[in-house]
């Protein structure tokens, strides 16, 4: 994963979001070593270059956070991969799904890891964060967190932190249907990670990612307790609620389908934030 020594470059560093989050991430301790922007002007003391290749050559960056528009995101991911970046985090919302399919193929071919799109980012609390997970909800601790939804994960982690329970690693996988990293991809990591004593999965209706997670938990014989929250129990079929992935067609992707799959895999599934927080607090 990442730690305070991970060398990070920011694509789109001179834009409004790029500037602000460069400052906030550095304030948290993230080791930002370079930026990329057509203007190539330094931001907050971080040198900027006109291409990823130059930025990587000059700085030795191995990870990137891209603050670029949805229409430019596929190009930004390809550029980072071509420059040899091995971890790419893309908070951008609204990436077209056909672009995401092309990006995923490129990421796999390069042997890299992509977190996003539509992710609030990832963090190893006390070490570094890539993206904009809010500090009020971040604290070092034993819970591995993975979430499709930014704000719902903020709410859950904020309440856990107020109960004295922090996170080992927090990864926002994003709410898009095709994405770089899915819940199931993270199961082997959380199984092996000694800091992680429990797993919190924050899901929502639509797609099959929660069901895939259930399959992966069983395949891995995941032995740590898993606490799951699935939003959208009362949503109507055929209507997208904010996230491109959160649409139910027929019975596939429904709340009931997800709960059944997760419970069969040994996870506990909750219908309210407070219930999940109580259960995690009681277990740890």
């Amino acid at each position: 994963m990442i730690d305070r020594t991970t060398r990070v470059l920011i694509q789109g560093i001179t834009g409004r979001a790029g500037r602000m989050h460069t400052r906030l991430m550095r304030g948290y301790g993230t080791n930002i070593v370079a930026g990329v922007s057509p203007r190539a002007e330094p931001v907050d003391g971080v040198p900027a270059f006109t291409s990823c290749a130059e930025a990587v050559a000059a700085s030795g960056a191995t990870a990137s956070v891209a603050f670029v528009g949805a229409d430019a995101l596929l190009g930004a991911i390809r550029e980072a991969l071509d420059a040899g970046v091995k971890l790419i985090v893309t908070p951008t919302e609204g990436m077209p799904v056909h672009d995401a399919m092309a990006a995923l193929a490129a990421v796999r071919a390069a042997g890299a890891r992509w977190i996003g799109a539509s992710t609030p980012g990832m963090a190893v609390p006390g070490e570094a964060k890539l993206g904009f997970l809010p500090e009020v909800a971040l604290a070092p601790g034993p819970v591995g967190v993975m979430s499709k939804s930014g704000t719902l994960s903020y709410e859950v982690c904020y309440r856990l932190v107020r109960r004295g329970i922090g996170q080992s690693v927090w990864i926002g996988v994003g709410g898009d249907p095709v994405k770089g990293t899915r819940y199931a991809d993270l199961v082997p990591y959380f199984a092996a990670d000694a800091r992680t004593r429990a797993l919190v999965m924050i899901g929502e209706i639509g797609g099959s990612e929660e069901e895939e997670l259930a399959v992966a938990l069983r395949a891995e014989r995941f032995a740590k307790p898993v606490f799951a929250l699935v939003a959208g129990r009362s949503a109507r079929e055929g209507v997208t609620m904010g996230h491109a992935g959160a649409m139910v067609h027929g019975d596939a992707g429904s709340w009931a389908s997800k709960r059944a799959a997760l419970e069969e895999a040994g996870a506990r599934v909750f219908g309210a934030v407070a219930e999940l927080v109580e259960a995690v607090a009681a277990a740890l």
């Binding site: 602000m20 906030l24 949805a70 229409d71 609204g94 077209p96 799904v97 056909h98 995401a100 399919m101 193929a105 609030p120 904009f132 809010p134 009020v136 979430s147 499709k148 939804s149 704000t151 719902l152 994960s153 903020y154 709410e155 904020y158 709410g175 249907p177 095709v178 994405k179 899915r182 199931a184 924050i202 929502e204 209706i205 797609g207 099959s208 990612e209 895939e212 929250l229 939003a231 959208g232 129990r233 009362s234 949503a235 109507r236 079929e237 055929g238 209507v239 997208t240 609620m241 904010g242 996230h243 491109a244 959160a246 649409m247 067609h249 027929g250 219908g271 309210a272 934030v273 407070a274």
Partner: protein
Amino acid sequence: MYLLEHDAKTLAAGFAIPSPPGCLIGEALPPGPWVVKAQVAAGGRGKAGAIRKAATMAELDSHARAIGAMSVRGQRVRGVRVEQDVGPAQEAYVALLLDPAAGAVRVLMAEQGGVEIEQQAAVRAERAPLDGIEAAVRRVGAGLAPALTEAGLALAAMFRACEAVLIEINPLFVRADGSWLAGDLKLITDDNALYRQPALRALVERNAAAYPEVRLKLEHGFDYVVVDEAGDIGLLTTGAGLSMMLIDELRARGLRPYNFLDVRTGGMRGDPARLIRVLEWIADGPNVRVVLVNIFAGITHLGEFARLLVQARAAVPRLAVPFVVRLVGTAFEEAEQVLGAAGIPVTTDLEQAVAKL
């Protein structure tokens, strides 16, 4: 965006995918007998009685009136399509759909279609990358009636051109002479690609009433859905997942939220216009008796948000209901002062806020 069948078939005609002659009710009718079909973005129309056959004009009129007043799976019917009943044909199945886990497209075919297609063992399937759909269609269709491969190839072109996530013809009418027609056509496209899909955008503009959520997103850049027209709690919330969860939790307590909203405070840029618009929409809810504001702001300055909220509330006097406000983030104390001066209490605890509703 889940297209109405009529719109999907009209688009498909441009990709050499023919359908039985048809029109919306009120337009010039094809020759009878007819099939009268509810236009609604939900499956299960046949089982719901929202697709009926008509042999006479009187039958057609009465079916159209009945179907036009129906709801299917909680959604109001948005229109009625009348189609010529083309008579007996083999009913097959061809579909292309996004496989998110694989980042690929699934090609599906069966010589026998029907309503329970998901349960059929005889469905052939293969995964393909976006640029390999045609080759997969030819492999999957080998040995089946040639019409399936022909339809699949036409769908492949449409899938890419419209940036679809799902296209399904079920049933695909295959006639004795080998010709084929799309009996039903289901098309779901990618909302995120609408900015570069002028034909789809134009369709939404032409028929805004049928695609209210997409229309709003296109025009305003955020998501708003009326979830219960009789609901009495207006929601001014940010974050899709948290807003969905909040609706679930309120309903579990027997409360009736009126709307879903992901207002995206980051997109307001110091202007109350977006909040005013949202409060106007909430004011349209005939039973709304309270507004719950829930903002968990990673970045947004809550003092600024509070000032915008006070301005917006003053700009929509017809929404004369109490506000319950829950905020977490930067500059909470400033927000508390601003809202307190306007007589609006604020808390950091969502459970406390919900208890006040």
